[in-house]
């Protein structure tokens, strides 16, 4: 079963690789069908892996160093849940893309890359071994890179792809370092064994905390958490279905999945948990703020993704394990819904800019309610799904005032920014030419399904909690004392949005100018990174090249030689530069002798 779920997308990738051009438009159908076929497999896995069980299949792969590495799969409720999300969203997105990407020059390539991504994502989900996880982790990143840059003739897309690649890689660096640390400390990378070691206290002290934090660094990069979040908004240069699949539902959630997967490691270190919770809360708040002033529809949704991922981290960090994961589960559906609905809007309005939309509700009789359903789920309004996961997370922070305040403020901003977007797009009068209407049935079907899921998936909270809960399971308080507060806050947000943004002909900045600017410039973090990391590296690179080529030669020859040789022209063989190279080498030799003698 695992093999079917895992390898069908690979098969699809290989088929499209071999015959994509010949299949033409049918390649998308092949890919969608093959991915769809994995859904029964997931259902079967659900039955085969009841709560609390762990099935491990591993074959030795690299048996030489330490206790060796293995290749195989790990089937437990966590991986089954995640695999289900991946399979379902991937299928729906591919069906949607059949219409959305119609007529694109590289149509088969698009589906080949999605198939490869799905395969890699499932490989990550089922990985029983950290190295295997890392390999698929990187593969997923590579697919994301390719898909963000899918419309690579647009320079912005190529730039965004590169930025995403490099920023997430910075986090992966931490993950790799964490893996190396765990490997050299324990001699194994087998996840259950590592977790057992962490749980039993055999792994402790700075190694435990250090490796947990390094692993978390990988999750921060992948899940676009502060301070490595800057790539996600730019990643919206990719096709909208990609944003829905990779940059909302699955890949960015892989960071949360990683933390959940390694949860005992984190649970054993209070420091690590605190860091996870704080980063999560901070991201939830900052991203919501940035979403408030954004004028590009997709980017608003992207900020909301970052913010929601922050809530998931916050849940995990404060011990609301199931709530955090349930948020991941629900979010996958309502966020894909928002993206796909946004895709329909963009399709119809032919613009990304909120300020040029408006009054689209009549034109898009399906997308408008679909977007509304997604927004209500995002805002945490019962009975939509977000309520059942977000409220418990906020409730779990209640005993930590700072986190609680951040979570509540985030909730207020969340409903404010998403309903701002909703009213600007659908309410009022049109502020521009909107040529199109609702898409074809291939686009409408997935929207319907996701709307239903966003409405209903929250109701599964009881089952979800029993299925995934850690043991001993804490109760899952869906309705607690703070719920009223949360609801009031969210409702205020919606009301404010209605007052401020509905029925306005043109939006003017409503916030105080400096604050607006700060948010619109994303707290100047991009500039900060450019100044403190990118530019110094480039400067270092220039310095290294210069030192290497010019410094020695320039120092020992000065301008004189250049002028002279220019004047006379070369009529005999001179070797100035080569001599400078040798000079550096012999200085090196002399200094090394001096150094070694000093050591003795």
């Amino acid at each position: 079963m695992v093999l079917a779920v895992w390898l069908l997308p690979l098969a699809s990738f290989l088929i499209l690789l071999a015959a994509g051009r010949r299949l033409g438009h049918r390649s998308g159908v092949v890919s969608s069908v093959l991915t769809g076929l994995t859904l029964p497999g997931v259902v079967a896995l659900l039955a085969a892996a009841p709560a609390g069980t762990t099935r491990l299949a591993a074959w030795p792969w690299l048996g030489i160093l330490g206790h060796g590495l293995s290749l195989g799969w790990l089937v437990d409720p966590l991986s089954v849940m995640m695999a289900g999300v991946v399979a379902l969203v991937s299928t729906l997105v591919q069906v949607y893309s059949l219409a959305y990407m119609k007529g694109d020059r590289d149509f088969p390539v698009f589906f080949a890359e999605i198939s490869l991504f799905t395969f890699a994502m499932q490989g990550l989900v089922f990985a029983p071994d950290l190295l295997q996880l890392f390999i698929f982790w990187e593969l997923v990143g590579l697919c994301s890179y390719l898909l963000i840059g899918f419309w690579h003739t647009r320079p912005a897309a190529a730039r965004a792809a590169t930025k995403a690649f490099v920023v997430t890689r910075t986090g992966d660096l931490g993950l790799l370092a964490g893996i190396l640390l765990l490997w050299s400390a324990t001699g194994t990378l087998n996840i259950p064994r590592l977790l057992a070691l962490a749980g039993s206290g055999a792994l402790g002290g700075w190694v435990l905390t250090g490796s947990a934090l390094l692993v978390f660094a990988g999750a921060v990069g992948k899940s676009a958490q502060f301070p490595l979040h800057t790539w996600l908004p730019d990643a919206m240069e990719g096709p909208t279905p990609i944003s829905a699949l990779i940059h909302a539902a699955t890949m960015v959630a892989a960071g949360v999945y990683l933390v959940a997967r390694m949860y005992p490691l984190f649970a054993a270190s209070p420091t690590a948990l605190e860091v996870v919770a704080s980063i999560g809360a901070l991201t939830a708040l900052l991203a919501a703020g940035m979403g408030l002033v954004e004028n590009e529809l997709k980017r608003v949704v992207a900020y909301s993704t970052m913010s929601q991922l922050g809530y998931m981290m916050l849940g995990l960090g404060t011990g609301a394990y199931t709530a955090g994961l349930f948020q991941l589960f629900n979010h996958a559906f309502f966020k894909s819904l928002l993206f796909l609905a946004a895709g329909s809007v963009i399709h119809a309005a032919d613009t990304h800019d909120l300020r040029r939309m408006g009054g689209l509700a009549r034109r898009l009789p399906l997308s408008a309610p679909a977007f509304l359903a997604g927004a209500l789920a995002l805002g945490g309004i019962p009975p939509f799904s977000g309520f059942f996961s977000k409220d418990p997370i906020i409730a779990a922070t209640a005993h930590q005032p700072a986190l609680y305040a951040a979570a509540l403020a985030g909730a207020l901003l969340t409903s404010l920014y998403i309903f701002r977007a909703y009213f600007l797009v659908f309410a009022g009068t049109p502020r521009g030419e909107h040529p199109g209407g609702e898409g074809s049935s291939a686009m409408r079907g997935p929207l319907w399904i996701l709307t239903v899921l966003s409405l209903g998936s929250g109701l599964a909270y009881h089952f979800f909690h029993r299925y995934l809960g850690r043991h001993p399971a804490a109760p899952y308080p869906v309705w607690s004392g703070s719920t009223w507060i949360t609801l009031a806050v969210s409702g205020t947000g919606i009301l404010l949005a209605w007052l401020l943004f509905a029925n306005r002909p043109v939006e003017r900045p409503r916030l105080a100018a400096p604050a607006h600017r700060l948010l619109a410039e994303r707290f100047y973090l991009d500039q900060l990174y450019a100044g403190t990391i990118v530019r110094p590296i480039l400067a270092l690179s220039r310095a290294a090249s210069w030192l290497d080529r010019r410094a020695v030669d320039g120092l020992v020859n000065g301008l004189a030689r250049m002028v002279m040789s220019f004047g006379r022209g070369l009529r005999r063989v001179e070797v100035g530069r080569a001599q400078s190279y040798a000079l550096a080498a012999f200085w090196g030799l002399a200094l090394f002798i001096l150094l070694l003698e000093g050591v003795r």
């Binding site: 190529a158 370092a177 490997w183 190279y581 080498a585 030799l589």
Partner: protein, 472 residues
């Protein structure tokens, strides 16, 4: 017994002679057969060496001057394999440049012979002589494209650095000889303690470090790799480097185990400097060949971690890394050899849209670069992983971290090339010549190996460990 064990070397020498003789009589249009003859000789030698390696041959000949142990055989196999790949791409390369001199093949074979003898030697005289054979042949190869002044300049720069380094090496050897009264590695080390021994050893190590192109002995490399014929650059950056590393490792780890300690710190510094400078300087290059040259300085830095850590695990990791490095680096330089014409054509912009013009070439180059960058499912990641793991385990965590940091820096320039390959818009240009069969075979083999050893690294790693076990 002696002669049988030396059979691969004899085959090589014989082939070189045969090529030279045949060159005199063959008409111009048939000179390509010389390449095929050389390939046959190399393949036979490779087969023989591989069989010896598989059989676990451990022979000490002529009073230990010549030592065919698995360590030597491992490196001989690497060198022969690299040379065979290089030869494969040389055939169409020479044809395209309109060069039909048979000397190219003879010189390549003799360079390989030198490298083979060099790694299988336990005597400084033999090491020196064999290294000179490798060097002299390489100098001439670097200057092979006579009409191109860049080739001559590459040769001259390499020559001057090489001869100066060999003078330093020789002076160091002479001091070691004076201290120990012997040229035998196993005796020299034990009797050369003291400060003068350190001086001598630095001079000797410097001589080998030049061939590895480790900082600060690296400065010839970018110029030479850029100016020399592309296949020759591929050879210099892999086979020559691997052979020098083998001798250096043998000298330091087996002959002078007592000299460890301060040595390790020194190599840690050299490795760290090579990684930093190579990767940072590569970032600033617009010429792809030059970028690869700096990248291979950095790659040398990764390998030198092994000498800093100096544990068996680390050295085994370096063996593994060098073996897979041959495939990816020869491969990368080879792809470039198809692109460049007499007027250049190796700038980043020249790669624009290669994926549409020559999809197979672009894919191969992508695999090599991804592997050099150390991405998953390639041999490059496995090699780096072992090296860094060994460093952490051997108490050099900072060096591993340093390596990881500069690996990330290297993503910038490797992926910049990929962006040009796949996303650049191709200006209309004359179709590049079709790859010939031997070149296709060589590139295909290199690509396959790069991926294969990334997915199934176990056998190669086992072989590396085994080769090491016999070293002591």
């Amino acid at each position: 017994m002696n002669l049988a064990a030396l059979l691969p070397a004899e085959i090589l020498a014989g082939t070189a002679l045969a090529v030279l003789l045949a060159d005199l009589f063959l008409p111009h249009r048939d000179k390509a057969y010389l390449g095929l003859l050389s390939a046959a000789g190399l393949a036979a030698a490779l087969g023989g060496t591989a069989r010896q390696l598989a059989a676990g041959l451990h022979a000490s000949l002529w009073g230990g001057i010549f030592l065919l142990d698995p360590f030597a055989l491992f490196f001989q196999t690497i060198v022969l394999g690299a040379a065979l790949l290089v030869l494969g791409v040389s055939l169409p390369y020479l044809e395209r440049w309109g060069r039909d001199d048979g000397e190219f093949y003879a010189l390549l074979l003799m360079a390989v012979l030198g490298a083979m003898m060099m790694v299988a030697s336990r005597n400084f005289l033999e090491i020196y002589v064999a290294m000179e054979l490798l060097s002299v042949s390489s100098y001439a190869l670097a200057g092979f494209l006579r009409p191109d002044p860049r080739s001559g300049e590459a040769a001259l720069k390499y020559y001057l650095q090489g001869v100066l380094a060999s003078a330093a090496l020789l002076y160091g050897i002479s001091l070691l000889y004076g201290l120990s009264g012997s040229l035998d590695l196993s005796v020299v080390g034990a009797r050369s303690a003291g400060s003068l021994g350190v001086v001598a050893l630095v001079l000797v190590a410097g001589g080998f470090a030049l061939k590895i192109a480790a900082v600060p002995f690296h400065m010839w490399a970018p110029d030479t790799y850029q100016g020399a014929p592309a296949p020759v650059a591929a050879f210099l950056s892999t086979a020559s480097k691997a052979a020098a590393f083998a001798v250096l490792a043998r000298v330091l780890l087996t002959a002078f185990p007592a000299a460890q300690g301060p040595w390790q710190e020194l190599f840690a510094v050299v490795a760290a400097a090579s990684m930093a400078l190579g990767n940072l300087a590569a970032l600033g290059q617009r010429n792809v060949r030059r970028m690869l040259a700096y990248s291979s300085i950095a790659q040398g830095g990764y390998v030198l971690i092994a000498l800093a850590v100096a544990t068996p695990t680390a050295v085994a990791a370096s063996l593994f890394y060098l073996a897979v490095y041959v495939f990816m680096n020869v491969g990368a330089f080879s792809v470039l050899s198809f692109l460049a014409g007499p007027t250049g054509g190796e700038e980043l912009a020249d790669l624009d849209g290669l994926a549409e013009r020559r999809p197979a070439l672009a894919l191969a180059l992508a695999v090599f670069l991804i592997s050099l960058a150390g991405m998953p499912l390639t041999a490059g990641l496995m090699g780096k992983l072992y090296l860094f793991y060994a460093a952490v385990q051997g108490g050099y965590a900072w060096l591993a971290l340093w390596g990881v940091v500069f690996t990330v820096v290297s993503y910038f320039y490797y992926f910049r090339v990929l962006r040009h390959l796949f996303w650049g818009t191709a200006p209309p240009r004359p179709a590049a010549p079709a790859a010939s069969v031997p070149a296709g075979l060589a590139l295909g083999a290199a690509t396959l190996a790069t991926v294969l050893f990334g997915v199934f690294p176990q056998p190669l790693l086992q072989l590396a460990l085994h080769s090491l076990g016999m070293l002591r």
